[in-house]
Amino acid sequence: MIRFENVYKRYPNGREALSGVSFSLERGEFAFVTGPSGAGKSTLLRLIALIERPTRGAVVVNQQNTARVPRRKIPAFRQRLGVVFQDHKLLYDRTVFDNVALPLVIAGFPHRDIGRRVRAALDLVGLLGRERHAPITLSTGEQQRVGIARAIVNRPDVLIADEPTGNLDPELSREIMRLFARFNEVGVTLLIATHDLELTAEFPHRRLRLVAGKLLPETAGAEAQAC
């Protein structure tokens, strides 16, 4: 579902964020990308969402080599992808409903379907009944869940999340991870970047460990925790 082949990413300022990263994520897999800040986790996710393009190597998502996606095809590419951002990236002049509905409006769903799907997504993240609220009146954890509802409302095959629990207390973080695990159970491929090793230790999923732009060899779960 997601495949990196010897990927390098060097930014215009000369910093090399990723060097020679290769891995492959099968359909329906759930993996964490861990590592200290600045290790290249965000860059890795940005390459998947086509916010950046690799300097060298190939990134393949949904059987599509991102290098062969021209600029005008990027919207269609992103419509098949769910992305959760650390800073939520909500629109604060619109209601919770309108925020979650945005991907459906873009995709041109009929009005009736939009209402049904938005409420289903909000129900999943436990925010049904808050549709008419402004995002600013919600807590950080609730805002994060609005962002998650928006990412899943279009039922993407792949969901990527950049530090989705970055600003949350441990209990809320655990709750959100459980939510992701539920999506995974219905077949969504998940890749979640986090620096919270304590949290990932509680989940038995695969771990891609980045250090200074390089992927460490994968080992069994117990040993990985030691890093």
Binding site: I51, R72, I106, P110, R150
Partner: protein, 303 residues
């Protein structure tokens, strides 16, 4: 598919109107700027077309007189009048016999006693000729043809001032054309700048929309409709300005015309002209928004 497409556009149209309604102060200023910029060429055009209509009613000014030679008698004079009257480029001929001319002259000149002292009538037969066409070359050609006729002594033509007026009106029309072009361009620039600011204000929204897969068309659409609304409202404002101006000028113009013994009145905009004004505003607003989105939307990429 088409229904969906139209639905998206209808939604963009309505939500752009809502956006204007939420910031009425700023929107009103922009609408007024566009309104004034459109009212200037629109209003000038109305004035020029009024002047044109007025000059059309002066076609009689192209009438000219042909004085026959003194020895020409009644029979020959009537034959000449008939001959000229039958020409295609002549609308009418009046024959003024010397007696009648003398009577009229005596009444109007105040030289009654002097004229009575004359032994015989010194005036010739006069033909007052009204050309079928008041156009410049036609009148001269007719005058030359008449002058060449046997028995015609002198043709007095005084159309120069009509020519000058027509030339001035043509010049004014050209000036209005140029003003229309320049102010139209100004509207596009004003609109482009307004939309550019709007794009800057909604930068975060554009970024997020791009992140969740919004196409260029989807992102551009609300700005285009915003430009359309500004243009339509600007056109309406211009219409209002012109109607008010004509109402203010109406009475003085009627008074002035009355002094010249005319019942001339200013004509306003026809329905088609009003529609053209509003439609022109819409097109210019849309064009300005298009320029702004083409230049600035692409630069905003998610970070």
């Amino acid at each position: 598919m088409l229904k969906r497409y139209l639905g998206l556009h209808a939604q963009a149209l309505v939500s752009a109107a809502g956006r204007l309604a939420r910031q009425p102060g700023g929107a009103l200023l922009t609408v007024l700027v566009i309104g004034v910029a459109l009212a200037l060429p629109g209003g000038l055009r109305v004035l020029v077309s009024n002047a044109d209509a007025l000059s059309g009613s002066w076609d009689r000014a192209a009438d000219f007189s042909a004085y026959l030679a003194l020895g020409v008698g009644d029979e020959r004079a009537r034959a000449l009048a008939k001959q000229i009257g039958e020409r295609d480029d002549v609308a009418g001929v009046d024959l003024i016999p010397p007696d009648e001319a003398l009577t009229e002259f005596r009444e109007h000149s105040g030289l009654g006693a002097a004229i009575d002292a004359l032994e015989e009538n010194p005036l010739p037969y006069t033909l007052v000729i009204r050309p079928a066409s008041g156009a410049a070359g036609d009148v001269e050609a007719l005058a030359a043809a008449v002058a060449a006729l046997d028995g015609v002594d002198l043709v007095q033509l005084d159309t120069a001032w009509v020519e000058r007026l027509r030339a001035i009106l043509a010049l004014a029309g050209r000036v209005v054309d140029i003003a229309t072009g320049l102010l139209g361009a100004a509207v596009v620039v004003v609109m482009g700048n307004t939309i550019r600011l709007e794009i800057q204000n909604r930068r975060a929204e554009i970024e997020v929309t791009k992140l969740v897969g919004g196409t260029d068309g989807f992102i551009r659409r609300p700005f285009l409709y915003l430009g359309l609304w500004y243009g339509v409202l600007g056109g309406l404002a211009a219409l209002l300005v012109i109607v008010l101006t004509l109402a203010l000028l109406g009475d003085p113009v009627r008074e002035l015309a009355g002094l010249y013994g005319s019942d001339y009145r200013l004509t306003g905009l026809s329905a088609a002209e009003a529609a053209a004004l509003i439609g022109g505003g819409a097109v210019l607003g849309w064009a300005g928004a298009w320029v702004a989105t083409a230049r600035h939307l692409r630069a905003i990429e998610p970070k």
